[in-house]
Subunit: 346 residues, 2 copies
DNA sequence: TTGTAGGCGTTATCAG
DNA sequence: CTGATAACGCCTACAA
């Protein structure tokens, strides 16, 4: 019943023109205080709501930003989104969230739809199977900011917020060595993804820094799930000298590894120390809480949002900004041979 | 550079009028095949993209729907959202996701912003602390569909999709009794929320059906987190005759309960059977996998979306539709005294 | 200080 | 079948 009152309606009622109403509502200086107040009052009385669509059409800005992630119901991504929203919402932006299910085709579709919807910017984490960058260029050609977080596509003129995966891999491995482990193995994820490669480099870097030579037998590539952890452990246990510690690039794989090790009768952390990666919520709820690397997800989201805001302000577009956050090693029971009880649980 | 090509641009190029272009692009019957194909071709060549904003302004529909949840990074809610998106996305709708952090004020703000943005409908789960319904009425007055999922506010003319919490509580309790447990306790969440009250009623119903009288000592109200589970167990263990089973309205509380019971040296499921509620991801990853009640979240999202679509089609608005889904008891190790190994893990 | 007029990109109506 | 025109709701030169 209350259908859509416009500035014309309130203009008619006050016997003035719509332009005046518009000015009054927008705090335009060229207007008398009296009429402004009058307009304000009747606007409220008539329950006027500005039509953002018309505004967007006029101004060319929609006040919407698109956020694209592989999966929305992964705590990693949903926390990042939360960080983005925390920063953007108070500034009047809306966040349109889309998921690609890790397919390039959905990524392309999604970008098209967001561009159609005239979003003011796109913040995204690239799908695992994306090989081509023409859809990213389409965004750049539309003259709106494109920002990668976590997973980037290597190209110019795109700002990004990532974490230092090398550092994460290095810290985790060094921690295992510090615990007295002599033969640290690494279970890596899909090495087509830069992030997994970097974690692996970090692993190797820590070995080198400790004067330990890299043993290829101790590097396993696995599927990125619990099952993958089972298989990796099976493989490692067939070795003549099995390892005494595992750094996994994924919490799920680490969980699978722990399950299988326990099945085989090994004690953790006495026989095997294990560290995962991502700080998935379940890692702290496990009976034997799992050490892992936290990726400061909310902060990553916040930072990505701030980079967007900066970019939209300075339209120079030239400032290429690659922010890299530092991950945080979280030491829990699964790798805790030496530390005091009280530090353990964190 | 490629800035915004409109139907006028392509009309000019073809020396026809914009209206004709529009018709060609929209499969309007009154147009020759020749010009249609020509328009289509040059449109593609010029990389024309329809401006949805203009369309929205013209048609009065934005093709956006708002989804409001307390927290976006909870697996329960993000799975529901996924269900909503699965259904709405292929039909050309975009989903604008907002979170209230369980505050009424944010809920009000969010609804206002969504209405300003001219969304075509709002699907939401009501905040825990919402006491007032004037903002819901504002949605109804705007003549767009409002649909509650999971948590509803009791009012007329609003469709809702919930699960049968009574049934969930009933099934969980009955299962514990079937396992041979004699003294089943219930840890309930915040009883200001209808959903927790209903689970509690289900618990009582199952007792009654089994001819067991309700013992108020076995009903504990707790905070909705792990700590709450610790406290509840402490309280139960002070009783003269402690229970031998626990049905908790929350997985987190159940987890806390299990932790504390193990600390005290009790064996699960031999001494205590435990069932949680929600099927949080961690429940199946625990060393001792936890029985719980699955709330078919994705389906709930899908159903909410379908109710929206129906409502927007039949503008009669009169059909009040309260869909109730049936939750699914998932039996795992924490309550599995009797069943075969093979059924256990599910 | 206020009114007039034009335009943002589409589509719908009415002529032709 | 196609062209001209108005309209969606808002903002902003420009003119008064």
């Amino acid at each position: 019943m209350n259908d859509k009152v416009t500035i014309y309606d309130i203009a008619k009622k006050l016997d003035i023109t719509a332009a005046t109403v518009s000015r009054a509502l927008n705090d335009n200086p060229k207007i008398s205080k009296a009429t402004r107040l009058l307009v304000m009052k009747t606007a409220k009385a008539m329950n006027y709501k500005q039509n953002k669509l018309a505004l967007a059409l006029k101004s060319g800005k929609s006040n919407n930003v698109g956020v694209i992630v592989p999966y929305i119901n992964r705590s990693f991504f949903s926390s990042i989104i939360r960080g983005i929203e925390d920063e953007l919402y108070p500034r009047g932006y809306h966040v349109i969230i889309c998921q690609t299910h890790e397919t390039e085709q959905k990524e392309i579709d999604t970008i098209n739809t967001l561009l159609n919807a005239q979003v003011d910017g796109i913040l995204m984490s690239v799908s695992k199977f994306t090989t081509n960058n023409t859809h990213f260029n389409r965004v750049l050609n539309s003259n709106i900011p494109l920002i990668f977080f976590d997973r980037r596509f290597d190209m110019e003129n795109v700002n990004s917020v990532t974490i230092n995966d090398y550092q994460g891999g290095f810290d985790a491995t060094k921690h295992l060595l510090d615990q007295g482990c002599k033969r640290v193995a690494h279970i890596s994820g899909d090495t087509t993804l830069e992030i997994y490669r970097n974690r692996c480099h970090g692993y190797k870097g820590a070995l080198k820094a400790a004067g330990i030579s890299f043993n290829p037998d101790y590097l396993i590539k696995s599927k990125n799930d619990i099952e993958g952890g089972h298989q990796a452990v099976d493989e490692l246990l067939t070795l003549e000298t099995p390892p005494d510690a595992i750094f996994s690039s994924s919490d799920y794989v680490a969980l699978g590894a722990i399950q299988r090790l326990k099945e085989k009768g090994y004690k953790i952390p006495e026989d095997f120390c294990v560290v995962g990666f991502s700080n998935e919520p379940f890692t702290q709820f496990m009976e034997l809480s799992m050490s892992t690397v936290d990726q400061c997800t909310v902060e990553m989201g916040r930072t990505a949002a701030l980079v967007f805001l900066e970019q939209i302000k300075d339209n120079t577009m030239k400032i290429e900004k690659k922010v890299q956050l530092t991950p945080q090693l979280i030491i829990r029971e699964s790798s805790c041979k030496k530390l005091e009880k009280k530090i353990k649980k964190k």
